[in-house]
Amino acid sequence: MLQPRQTEKPAIGIVFDSAFSRVDDALALALLYGLDGKKEERFVSVSVSRANLKAAIYSDIVGRFYAGAVSGAIGFGGRTLPVGLADSSSLKDDEAFFAKPLSKTLLDGKPAYPSDIKSDIDTAEVAAVIRNALTAQWDGNTIIIVSGPASNLVSVLDTGGAKDWIQRKVKLLVFTGGRFPEGAPDANIKADIESARKLFAEWPTPIVACGAEMDGVISYPATSIEKDYAWSPAHPVVDAYLAGGTMPYDAPVWAMNSSLYAVRPQEGYFKVSDPGTIAVLEDGRTKFTPSSNGKHRYLIYDPAQKERIVKAYTEIASAKPVERPQRIPQKAQAQQKAAQAKPQGEEEPKKP
C-alpha cells in the first residue's frame, strides 16, 4: 500500500555539535530540548568535538532524560539519538561538569543516569551521523549549531557528496567562536585553527557567528538552578551545574546565545550585523569584511534585551518535558523514569 509523503514541513531540525568545554554547553542542551518540547524545533543530531567518551555519555544521558518528550529517536530504530564523537581532537580532558554526574548513584548502587554508551563503538562516527541526519530533513529545514572547534563539521564537509547535502538541507550554521568585527582567537578557534579557516572559506550556506565578545555579557542565574528545577529530584543539567563551579555562581551562556538565536531569530534577542565575509587568519584571528553579497554575519549584544533573554533561558531550560506519544522502546522509558525518580543515595543534589 502506498504511503503518502509528508505534506507539511515539520519544525526546523537542529544539529548540535559541541566540545562540552563549559557548563553552558549543558545548559544549551537543556534549552534545545526545551524548545523541542515546545515544538519550535526538532533535535535531530548531537555530536561531541572533544575526544572524550565521558562527554559523549553525558550528552546521551541528557538525551535519555528528555527521551519520550522530544523528537529524538525518529529514524534510528526507536533508539535514542546516536551521539557522534570525534576520533581525535586537541581537546581530550575531562571537565567536572560532564564527568561528575556520570558517577552519581542511587542507594542500590545503580547509576542515577543510565546510558547505553560503554565504549567508543557505542558512539557514532561524526561525519556519518551528521550527514545522515541531514539526509532525513526537508530541504532548507536544518540549522547547525557549533559550540567548539570546527573540526567535526569539516569532517562532514570532506565527505564525498556532503557539500550537496549541506547546500540542500542546511538553512544556517551558527558558529560559537571568533571575535568581531575582528580580534584575537578565542578558545574554539584556537582548538583547531586550520578547520576554522576551512569552514569559513568553504561552508556553502550562510553562517552567523556568535563571537567571544558575546561571552560573559549575560549569565545564567544560580537562583534558577536552586528553584526552577525542583520538579525533578535528579536532573543531569542541574548536576552538571553543581559540578561546574562553587555555588552560588552565575554561569556563562555563550552556547545558549547561539542556540537561542538559531531557533528564534525573529524574536530580536540579539542584533545581527550586515552581511559580509568572515576570514580566519593564519594565527587564528578573525576578521569580518562587510559586503552586500557576503554569506556571513555576526551577533551583536543588545543590553536592552538582557532581561528577556535571561527569562527565556531560565524558563525554557528548566521546563518539565512534555510527554509525547511513545517513540522509544519501553526499556528506555523505564530508564528515563528511573533517572527522574528521587535518588536515595548520598549523592542527592545538595541545595546550597
Binding site: 502506498l2 509523503r5 505534506t7 529514524g75 546516536p82 563503538i121 545522515n132 565527505t159 557528496g161
Partner: protein, 459 residues
C-alpha cells in the same frame, strides 16, 4: 609443476559447437621461467544478499577481536572462523525512509550496493519525493560491483555475473510505491539501469558455457533431444589439451570437468522433475522448487565461474527483499516476510531464526567448496572476498543500522580475517565496499555515502 616450452594462456577455452568452457588455474599456465616465483592469481569479489535481515540476538556475538564461539545463526561457519570477518554497526542510510514513507524492503536492496536511496516511481501527485517532486522513472545508483566490473571486467569473459533465485519481475510497484526493479535486482550498471539476475540454472549454465553467450535455439534443442552433455562437444579440444598437461593438471582438469558435468546432470534432473510436478509457482522451467538445491546449483556455477576466471565480480540475490517464501523443507510453512513481523512473539522469532540458520547452512556448504579448490599456495576462498549480508537488520522493525554483515575470504591476503570488528554507529556499509574495491585493485576516493575506508580491516 609442469615445465612446458610455452605456458598455457589463462583464458584458454575448450571449444565445441556452441560451447566454450573456461579452464581452472593450471600449473601449465605458469610460464616456465617463472618457476620459483610467486604467480599472481586473480582476486574475486561476490555479494550474497539474504532478505529481511536476521534475528540479531542470534547473530551478534558479545565480544570483539579474534573470533571465538559463534552465535546460533553463525554456527555453520565454525570451520571458517579463520577465513571470515564479522563486522558490526555498519549502516545503510539509504534504506531508511528519509521522509519518503514506507518501502524499507525496496530501499534495502535497491541501494544496498550503492549507498543511494532509490526513488519512488508513483506519478500520482500525492506520492512524490520528500520535497514534493513527482518522480516517475526508476533511479538508484551504480553499485560497487559494477564500479569494479567497469575497471577490471575486460580481463575476463564476463565483466560481472548477476545471479538470483526468486523473482525476475522488473515492472510494477513491489513495495509502497517503489518499483520491483529495486527489490529484485542487486546490481545496477548506472542509476537507471539495473542488471536483472539470472534465476534459471539452465540459463546460467548456458551463459557460462555457451559460445558467445548462448547456444542457438536449434543447437540447444538438438542437444536436449539427445540428452548430450556440453562436454561431448569439447572432447576433441579436451584430448588435445591433455597432451600438454602433467599428471597433476590432468587430475585437476578431470575434477573440474566432473564438477561441470555434475551441475549439468542436476539441472537436467530438475528439469525432468519439474515436468512431472507442478511447482505451483511461476518460475522458469529449470528452477528447482527446493531452496537448498537451487542455491547449490547457482553457487556451484559461481564457483566454476571463479575457478575458470570467467568473471571476478558476482552479485547473488538469494531472495527478493521482502520475500514471503515458505520453507516447508525445514518445517516452516509460513511466509518468511510474515514471520519477520513477529511483534516479539517467541514462536515466530524462532521460525525466523530457523530460516536464518537454514540460509547459513547452505552458504557454509558453498564456502566448503570454495575452500576445497587450491590455487597455488592459497584456496579459491582465500583469493576471494565474499560478503554475506542484508540491507535490513531487524525485519520486525525494519532497521538499517548494525546490519548483519560478514566477509569470507581474504582477497588474496588483502584482508586480515578471523576477527569480529565493531565500528562506530552509523558507519556506512559503503566504507566496506570502498575498502574492498582497493583489494580488487580499483582505487576510488569516494563511493556512495562512504566516509572513508573501514579502519583495521586489512592485513
Amino acid at each position: 609443476m609442469t615445465i612446458t616450452n610455452k605456458a598455457l594462456a589463462r583464458r584458454t577455452f575448450l571449444r565445441g559447437v556452441g560451447t566454450a568452457i573456461g579452464l581452472p588455474f593450471l600449473d601449465a599456465m605458469v610460464p616456465a621461467l617463472s618457476y620459483g616465483k610467486t604467480v599472481e592469481t586473480p582476486v574475486r569479489m561476490a555479494f550474497v544478499y539474504v532478505p529481511i535481515g536476521a534475528i540479531m540476538d542470534h547473530w551478534n556475538p558479545s565480544y570483539t577481536g579474534n573470533l571465538a564461539e559463534l552465535p546460533r545463526i553463525l554456527k555453520p561457519m565454525e570451520p571458517f572462523k579463520k577465513d571470515m570477518l564479522l563486522l558490526g554497526n555498519l549502516t545503510h542510510n539509504g534504506g531508511r525512509a528519509l521522509l519518503d514513507g514506507g518501502g524499507d524492503h525496496a530501499r534495502a536492496t535497491g541501494g544496498y550496493l550503492s549507498g543511494v536511496q532509490p526513488k519512488k516511481i508513483a506519478e500520482d501527485s500525492s506520492y512524490g519525493d520528500r520535497n514534493g517532486h513527482s518522480v516517475a522513472a526508476i533511479k538508484a545508483g551504480i553499485t560497487a560491483d559494477q564500479i569494479v566490473a567497469n575497471e577490471i571486467g575486460g580481463k575476463t569473459r564476463f565483466a560481472s555475473l548477476e545471479v538470483g533465485m526468486e523473482d525476475a519481475q522488473q515492472a510494477g510497484n513491489c513495495d509502497s510505491g517503489y518499483s520491483c526493479s529495486y527489490t529484485n535486482n542487486l546490481a545496477w550498471k548506472s542509476e537507471s539501469q539495473p542488471l536483472p539476475p539470472t534465476l534459471d540454472p539452465r540459463a546460467l549454465f548456458e551463459r557460462l558455457f555457451g559460445d558467445d553467450g548462448d547456444l542457438s535455439p536449434q543447437a540447444r534443442e538438438r542437444r536436449n533431444l539427445y540428452r548430450r552433455s556440453i562436454l561431448d562437444y569439447v572432447t576433441e579440444d579436451s584430448k588435445k589439451l591433455e597432451t600438454r598437461l602433467g599428471p597433476s593438471d590432468r587430475s585437476k582438469l578431470d575434477q573440474y570437468m566432473t564438477s561441470v558435468r555434475e551441475v549439468e546432470i542436476r539441472i537436467q534432473q530438475n528439469e525432468k522433475d519439474n515436468r512431472q510436478i507442478d511447482p505451483g509457482m511461476e518460475k522458469p522451467g529449470g528452477t528447482p522448487g527446493d531452496f537448498a538445491e537451487h542455491f547449490k546449483l547457482q553457487s556451484d556455477m559461481i564457483t566454476i565461474a571463479f575457478q575458470a576466471d570467467l568473471t571476478r565480480t558476482v552479485t547473488f540475490l538469494v531472495g527478493r527483499e521482502g520475500s514471503n517464501r515458505p520453507y516447508r523443507e525445514i518445517g516452516v510453512p509460513e511466509g518468511h516476510h510474515n514471520l519477520t513481523h513477529h511483534r516479539n512473539n517467541p514462536e515466530m522469532i524462532e521460525k525466523v531464526a530457523q530460516i536464518n540458520c537454514y540460509h547459513m547452512r547452505t552458504f557454509a556448504a558453498w564456502m566448503e567448496k570454495m575452500k576445497a579448490h587450491q590455487e597455488g599456495d592459497r584456496t579459491l576462498l582465500d583469493n576471494s572476498m565474499i560478503v554475506y549480508g542484508s540491507g535490513i537488520a531487524d525485519g520486525n522493525r525494519h532497521t538499517h543500522e548494525d546490519l548483519p554483515t560478514m566477509v569470507l575470504g581474504s582477497g588474496g591476503g588483502f584482508l586480515k580475517s578471523g576477527r569480529r570488528l565493531v565500528y562506530r554507529r552509523e558507519t556506512p556499509i559503503c566504507n566496506l565496499y570502498l575498502t574492498m574495491m582497493e583489494g580488487m585493485g580499483v582505487h576510488k576516493e569516494h563511493f556512495g555515502d562512504a566516509t572513508g575506508h573501514l579502519q583495521g580491516l586489512t592485513a
